[in-house]
Symmetry: C2
Subunit: 134 residues, 2 copies
């Protein structure tokens, strides 16, 4: 069951398929991203932030994976520029196998700093533009 989700998720990440990414996010999805303690919630915001992360991390490769009912833990490696990283996605699927909750944890420190340097300004800009339009 969650196996179907997994193969689609791996494809989305490998191909940076942002259209399909949106389709696997529940409307009320929330994300805990590496730089921030505060969670971001809602499909639009999470989709944007995940898109930025997917475009910033190169060489995404999945390794160990764990499943327990609708809870998944997926280990990956990649790099931001020259900085190598190891990370994990902690994913809670809802009954429709859409992502209800996602946490992304990364080491080492330098990789999070490098990720934040690229993602934070774009995220701030995105949130400000939503604030204006809303």
């Amino acid at each position: 069951m969650s196996g179907d989700f997994l193969s689609e998720w791996r494809r989305i990440v490998a191909e940076r398929d942002l259209v399909a990414l949106r389709a696997v996010l529940a409307e009320g999805v929330s994300i805990g991203a590496p730089p921030y303690w505060q969670r971001f919630a809602g499909r639009d915001v999470v989709h944007h932030l995940l898109g930025l992360i997917l475009h910033t991390i190169e060489g995404f490769t999945y390794h160990r994976e764990w499943r327990h009912a609708n809870e998944l833990a997926l280990e990956f490696t990649g790099r931001v520029g020259e900085v190598e990283l190891q990370g994990i996605d902690l994913i809670t699927l809802d009954d429709r196998l859409a992502i209800a909750k996602l946490d992304v944890l990364i080491r080492p420190l330098r990789a999070i700093e490098a990720l934040q340097e690229v993602v934070a300004p774009q995220m701030t800009k995105f949130l400000a533009s939503r604030g204006r339009s809303g």
Copy 2:
């Protein structure tokens, strides 16, 4: 099987039992810690680094856990000073159920910075003293 390890591991962390911690580390154990990309290897070094981390993170609480054969993923929360954090231990057990490999990933950035501030100077001191004695 790994359930026995898990209850002992949770007790070790909750009680900061560094003597028992040493007993669950394989001789050739290696650790990938949040601040560093470079892994540290060997029971003495890993024991020291884990001891520092256990003493620096307060309010250690375990949440979701995943097992797949000898591979474990254990989610926790805690704080360093006032900084709240979410983390995960990725643990590979050997056939004797000792820890052969351990990765610790933490978010957010601020928590890793706070952890590094406490741990790095002590770790540098420890490694230097070993260099002198060896």
